[in-house]
Structure formats: structure tokens, C-alpha cells
Symmetry: D2
Subunit: 283 residues, 4 copies
Amino acid sequence: MIVLTFSCPDRKGIVASVSKILFENDANIVESNQYSTNSGDKPHFFMRIVFEPESPQGLHSINQKLAEFSSVFNAEFKLTDTSVKKKAAVFVSKEDHCLYELLWQKSSGDLFIDIVCIISNHNILLPVAESYRLPFIYAPYKDNPSRQEEFIKREFKRLNLEIDFVILAKYMRVLSKNFINSFCQKIINIHHSFLPSFPGAKPYVQAYQKGVKLVGATAHFVNEKLDDGPIIEQDIIRIDHGDDINEIKRKGRIVEKLVLAKAVKLFTEDRILEHDNKTIIFE
Amino acid sequence: MIVLTFSCPDRKGIVASVSKILFENDANIVESNQYSTNSGDKPHFFMRIVFEPESPQGLHSINQKLAEFSSVFNAEFKLTDTSVKKKAAVFVSKEDHCLYELLWQKSSGDLFIDIVCIISNHNILLPVAESYRLPFIYAPYKDNPSRQEEFIKREFKRLNLEIDFVILAKYMRVLSKNFINSFCQKIINIHHSFLPSFPGAKPYVQAYQKGVKLVGATAHFVNEKLDDGPIIEQDIIRIDHGDDINEIKRKGRIVEKLVLAKAVKLFTEDRILEHDNKTIIFE
Amino acid sequence: MIVLTFSCPDRKGIVASVSKILFENDANIVESNQYSTNSGDKPHFFMRIVFEPESPQGLHSINQKLAEFSSVFNAEFKLTDTSVKKKAAVFVSKEDHCLYELLWQKSSGDLFIDIVCIISNHNILLPVAESYRLPFIYAPYKDNPSRQEEFIKREFKRLNLEIDFVILAKYMRVLSKNFINSFCQKIINIHHSFLPSFPGAKPYVQAYQKGVKLVGATAHFVNEKLDDGPIIEQDIIRIDHGDDINEIKRKGRIVEKLVLAKAVKLFTEDRILEHDNKTIIFE
Amino acid sequence: MIVLTFSCPDRKGIVASVSKILFENDANIVESNQYSTNSGDKPHFFMRIVFEPESPQGLHSINQKLAEFSSVFNAEFKLTDTSVKKKAAVFVSKEDHCLYELLWQKSSGDLFIDIVCIISNHNILLPVAESYRLPFIYAPYKDNPSRQEEFIKREFKRLNLEIDFVILAKYMRVLSKNFINSFCQKIINIHHSFLPSFPGAKPYVQAYQKGVKLVGATAHFVNEKLDDGPIIEQDIIRIDHGDDINEIKRKGRIVEKLVLAKAVKLFTEDRILEHDNKTIIFE
């Protein structure tokens, strides 16, 4: 199957034109979703179509026609083969629950990804990498993120790794502008609060002190502002006055790992489009 | 705006053909959803499109083209004007919470419906109807549903009521085959359990005795088998050992009224298609 | 039944002492909950007991013994008769959904309260008050809250109203320090966001702009800092990119009214204790 | 810390008597919960108290006093040391998600248990046992459960295993009466439906065919009737028409593992009392 994601300034006839291209090349549409922002003065159109091409030539021709069409409609589009696994580099620090959930969902087939390496500023989770026979890059934090990231990038090269996207699975360090830009809209972070509540450090301690009745987790793309990238998925769990900080953390971990895995699944299935620092999710 | 709902045996080119018809008549597609059952040996295709027609003539032409196309593709389709309120007859017995939720959501504009009359086998809720200046048909239960329904239908005529669909808002009586068939796929019932658990009488008592940890409510279309029509919407609420039957009922009422109102909203916006005793919901 | 709420600095023997007092006066304990903060250097103890006294004399004696005991243990306690309805003054502005939910839950018996009057800075909801035969105090906003509140208090006196607590059911104005202090820990507000996210004005617009995937509501006691009093109850509802501000508001209203009604229920059943700007909820 | 669980026919003075015993032996009550069934003609009383004993002698004396008291009040009680891990035998078939969740929550400290062995009628999950250095008993299903269980019990003996309770973590076989009785109220099963909906085989297929909008999971004690023991915990997840059976299973697995882990946690913390084929859960 092929996933087409497509976006452009809204106008009449987009669906008709695109579906005509697919039909004329004998493709069979299996799933389709669209959405237009009708607020603001510049309405924008978004679409995701899953189709079965008749043949590689058919697909080639579709690609060409879409390119022509896109230059006219000022559109962006992408064709992705669903049979090819996306390659993830997973960053961790000391906590393992998000990493384990990714590994388990990968091996059960629930997540269709390759995990090509695990990177950490600690070596605590090295045994996990070993037991799954995955390369482990131990990159202790230096005085600034750039020097550490240079080291990581050299390791990527040395290990000959191709990386499609980055998962920050409770990586407790800030990345440099540079690194973020080299994986634009391709770094997924899990923050352990219901953003915009409690950004930054120690959100569970903040939640405990505030006396909230729910705690949450937020998976988002990373951009240059801390904990402020486009939100992909959020969920919450109920707590009460009897829960101390450890119990809040315990409950929170369950939400964190599920929210992150859900966001990764949405990403691997090309269900996320981005616009105006927000996400459009085609479920 | 116009809503097009469309379904037919699945094959290539449906989306292309339909969107071409809309495009050629200058309609602007605002929202679109589709789905195919890919299980079973007879895949079926479903679509819901919201569009803005260029003119009444354009809409007329679209209607004609779709009719031609449908006879070829063996399709069913419907065009509905979203500016026209659907007319509901609401059946109740003694409980008022579902009725009040419908009335409140209607007056706040959350539900875009007309409530043309309230029918009950008791006269307890007559004052509610009066305070909202709605006709109230008091139809005490006779020996069998048919005689009671004949009376109700005579009243509909006498009051000159046009009725698009029927809401059973905690109407605790079974309707006759005849009545059900005269409003085929247009009677929405709320059952106070998470079906198929606890069908029939006193579901909360059954839930209490079973010691379940959640109770639910189910909104479904009514067909000839008791509590077995296509499910539209379900939700649940947590209970615990400390909740006696009254407390379970109290919690349940909150779920009942919200689930029923949600189902009615989906119906009024033509978001529900039916196939094989199940619903496709385009949200 | 009598509800005893009790709190004091934690130490050994409190439960034994209190339950001995009840036992020696032939009271039957029906429900009991306790909690100690074990964090911080000054652990504090909280308890809620529901009991059936043997006789009015028995209750009198229990009250006396608890008073003696409390002066020694530096405790605060309160005895409340569950057969007496608490009297609420409900403040509203233009929106009616929270008011209607309170009125409906009151009349169904789900909320055991008296609503003694409705106060508003607009006269839009006067007809609602009339249809429920409740006094309506129309208090247009003056240049500062104090002048408006003086007027309201004069009306309370003129109407001879006794008021146990205040419900701000979408009252969109800030109250004065003075007014807040005269109803200390007895003013319940509903804020239409998941605090501490989006305090202040237009939380749904903020939520929309931020692109969150859930919106929430928070019921809290009012203190002198805006939207910062002890949180009583919170809940959330899922939204997606397709929901515009009106749809977010619509979904939010459902959460708002249920969260407020839940908080009021907890208050009327004396299930809320307050400590350190947080609540202990004995459910 | 010591957990006391206690139940007896309800009467006055139980709390006073028990807390007096604790106080006179200098124990410090940290947490306490109680509940009486007030329905039915034979009200029953349940209590859970967490306390810190002054000394081993103090605990011994408390035990003695409670035993005397219990013979008079016709009560059952149990004292459990929270510093001692309960020993679990985990039965699996082919699926690994519940097993992995238990192993992960154990190693993170979220579940305070010992897993003493893994038993399976298949050898697929042997590598998991090996990687965690746990004994694996491969017990292929024979013609009837008894013969298989005899083999398992012989292995328990041979390996010198002490077992406090049994977890059926997606063990797809029925156990014999005999085996169930030898672990009375100590076998926790996860059933992949919201019981009493869809008991028996293939609940997700049943759910798909029925067209429900939510699927669930139920953790319960095992008794002699299939899928009918006292329910410990339940939860649900939303599905829609677009989810085929594989997707329903995938979503369901997430609920299954969390519901089972929650039930095991409640059990290990002695928070579950059983009465009349229902559970009382002191959270």
C-alpha cells in the first residue's frame, strides 16, 4: 500500500483532481481523509489517502502527475510505501519504561518500526540494548549539548546508521538548535505533564504541590522552544490526595509510555500533518 | 451546506467519479470521509461528503448525476440540507434526565433539532412539556403495544405532526414490529447498560449483583429484536463496591443522557450509516 | 446520620480515642475514612466518619467529648446532620448549562441542596429563575466588585436569605477580597480549563491556539488569587484538529457542568477537607 | 508496616474495639478503610488497616488479642507484613504482553512481587523466562487438565517452589476444580472482554461481530464456573467501525495488560476482600 499525504492552500477541485490522477492510473483507494482549516483568512487543505497502485509504473506515473499538479496548486505531498519500516534512533536517560514499551510493541508487531540504536547520557540501560542486540551509544553529557551531539553524530556515521526519525523516550536533556533542525518535524518527545501545564523540570512535583486531580503526558514534535512543539497526543490518569509523589510517578509512567507509543504509531503510519505549530491527525 | 451519504459494493473509481460530479457542478467539498469493509467476501464502500453547492441548479444537477451513477454502481445515496432541522418525537416514561438533556442541548444550540412532541405512557412529565410549550401525548399502555400505538399515530395525525425520527428517552415499553418498521433505522433508544451485557429489564440491578466495576449505557437503533439493533454509541462510568443500587443509578443517569444526546447529534448530522446490523460513524 | 470531619497534627491513638467516644455513646459507625500526610515535617491527620447517634443526648455528649478532646489534640472538628439541606446561592452570568445541571440534579434528588436564590450581572437567566420560582437578584456590574456586592448583600438581607455556601456557575466576574473572606472555603467556582493550564480569560481560545488534544474543567474553592484556590475536582474531554472553537466550547460545556455538579455534591456531603491550599476528598 | 484485613457480621463497636487493641499495643495507624454492606438482611463489615507496630512483641500481642476478639465477633482477619514479597506462579500460553508488563512492573518496583516460575502449555515463551533467569515449566496440554496439573505440581515440588498465588496471564486453558480449590481466592485471571459481555472463546471476534463501540478487559478471581469469579478490576478502550479484528486485538492488549497488572497490585497490597462472589477493593 502507498500513503499519500498532501496539503495546500484550500480551493475547489482538489479532491476531484487528485482522485482523478489515482483513478487514471488504476490505483484503488482504500482509505481517505481530508480536512480544511476554515478559520483564519488563509484556509488550508490537508489530505491523507491510502491506495494500492496497479504497478510500479502506475506509482511512478502518479508521482509525476502529483508533482506537476503540486507545482500549480502550491502543494506539498509525500508518497510512502507502508511495507518499508521507518528507522528510529531512541534516546533515553535512566528510566526504561518508555523504551520497554517501544521494544515490546515493536516485537509484537503493534509498532511497525526498526529501532536502529539506543543513545543515552548514562550507561544504565546498556544491558537492555544488549539483550535486544541493539547498538548502544553511550554519550555522557558534556558542557554543552553541541559537543555531545557531535559525538553522537560521529557514532551514527561510524555505525553506518540510517535514521528516519528520533524518539526521545525520557531523554532528560535539551538538544541543540542545530540537531533539532537536522531532524525537522522528526523528533518526537514525551513530556510527563499535560502541557501547557507544568513545562520544564519535575512536572510531577509541580503537580503534587498544586494538588491537581489528574496528571497527564504529552507527546510532541520538538522545536527550538522547550516543551512547546506541535502536540501529537495527550492523555491523563486520575490521582487523589492519597497519592504521594512516588505513586504519582508510578501512575504517570503508565500514561507516558502509552502516549509515546501512540504518537510513534501515528508517525510511522504517516497520520500526522503539521501546520501553524499544530498537528492534524488522521486516525 | 449539503451532506451526501453514499454506499455501494466496493470497486475502483468511486471517489474519483463522485468527486468529479461535484467538481463539474462547482461544488466545494468541505469535509469528506470514506471507509470500506475489507473483511468478508463482499467488500462494501461508505462515504460522507459535506459540500457547498454553487447554486440550487448545481445541486439539482448533482442529484441527477448521482442518481444515474448510483443505478450503475448499485449504490444508495442521500442528500441532506444541513440548514433544515430534523423533527423528533420523544417518547418517555417517568424519568426526566434524558428528556431534560435533549431540551437543554436543543435550546443551547448544541443539538440542531425540532422536538415536535413528547409521548408518554404516564402523565408525570406533562409539566415539562407544558413549560417548553410542546404537545404532550398521554398514551397509557393498553393490553398490547399495537392498540397504544394506533392511538399515538391518530394523535400524530390530529396534531398534524411531521416526524423524521423517534427518540426513546427512557421509554420503558416495547414497541410493535409494525411501528418499528414504519420508522425503519429512525428510532434511537437508550439502554442503560453496556450491551450486550445486561439486556432487558433492570440492568443496574443485574450490574450490582454481578459486582462489575463499570456501568455503561448504549444508544442504538431499534429493530425487531429487543436491545439488539445496531449500536450507535456507548460509554461507561466507574463504580465501586461502596455504590449501592441508587448510587449506581445516579451515576448511570449521567452516562445515559450524554450517550443518548451524542447519538442524536450524530443522527441529526447524518454521520451514521448502517450495514449488516452495525453502524459506520463518520465523526 | 451525622458526618464528623476531623483534622489535627498526626500522633498515635487518634482513631482509638475518637472511635471510643462514639462507641461509649452507643453511636453506630457506618462509614469511615482517614488519611495522614506523611510528607513534610509536620504530618497532619484527617478523618471523616458517618455515624448514627443513639439519641439527641448521645449526640450532644459526643459533641462535648470531641470538644474536650480537640482542645488537647489541637484538632478541628465539625458535626453535620445529613438530613439538613445546605443552602446555596448560585451566581451566573449569561450561560445556563451549569445552572440547569444543578437545578436538574437537585430536582431529581441527586444533589441534596436548597438553592435559595440566583444572582446575576445580566438579566438573561431571569426566566429560568421564574420557572423554578426562585428569587433572582439582578446585580449589574458597577465600576468595582465591592459596590455590586454591597447591593447583593443588601438583597440577601431584604429577602431574609440564609446562605451556607456560594456556587459560581459560570459567573464571569471577579469577587472582592471582602466577599471571598466572608464565605471562606465556601465559594465553589467552575473554571473552564484543566488548571493550571489556561487560567484567566478565554481558556478555550487559548486551548485551540495551543492545539491541545484534550480540554478540561476545574472546580475549585475561591481564594484571593485568581483561579488558584484548592482544586476539588477536574475532568477532561478529547478534542481533535477538526474541532473549531465553537465545537470545543460545546464539548467543554458538558465537562464543566458535570465537574461543577460533582464538586457541589462532594461539598454537600462534607467530603472535602482543606489543608495547605489542597483538598483531601473522602469519596 | 503491617496490613490488617478484617471482616465480620456488622454490629456496633467493631472499629472502637479493633483500634483500642492497636492503641494499647502502641501501634500507629497509617491508613484505614472500612465498609459495611447495608443491603440484604445480613449486613457485613469489612476493614483494612495499615499500621506500624511498636515491636515484634507488640505485633504478637495484637495478633493474640485479634484472635480472641474474632472468635467472639465471628470475624475473619489476616495480618500481613508489607516488607515480604508475595510469590507468584505465572501461567501463559503464546501471548507475551501480559507477562512482559508483569516483569517490567516488577523490575521497576511498581509491583512488589516475586515471580517464582513461568508455566506454559507451549514453549514459545521459554526465551523470555531464560532472559529473566526464571524457571520455565513446559507443560503441554494432555487429554484433560488434571493430568497436566499433576505434572505441574510435581514440577513445583521438584523445583522446591513456594507459591502464594497464581496469575493466569493469558493462559488459554481451563483449570480443574481440584487445582482451583487448592488455590482458593488466589488465582487471578485476565479475560479479554468487559464481563459479563462475551465470556468464553474469542471475545474480540464476538465484539467485532456485535459492532460494540468499546472493548474491555476483566481481571477476576477464578472459581469453578468459567469466567464467573469475583471481578477485581475492569477497564475499556474505544474502538470504531474502522478497526478490524487485528486492530481490536491490538487495542485490547493494552487494556488487558494494564488491568491485570492493576489487579495483581491490589492483591499484593492486600486491598481485595471477597464476599458473596463480589470484591470489596480498598484503594
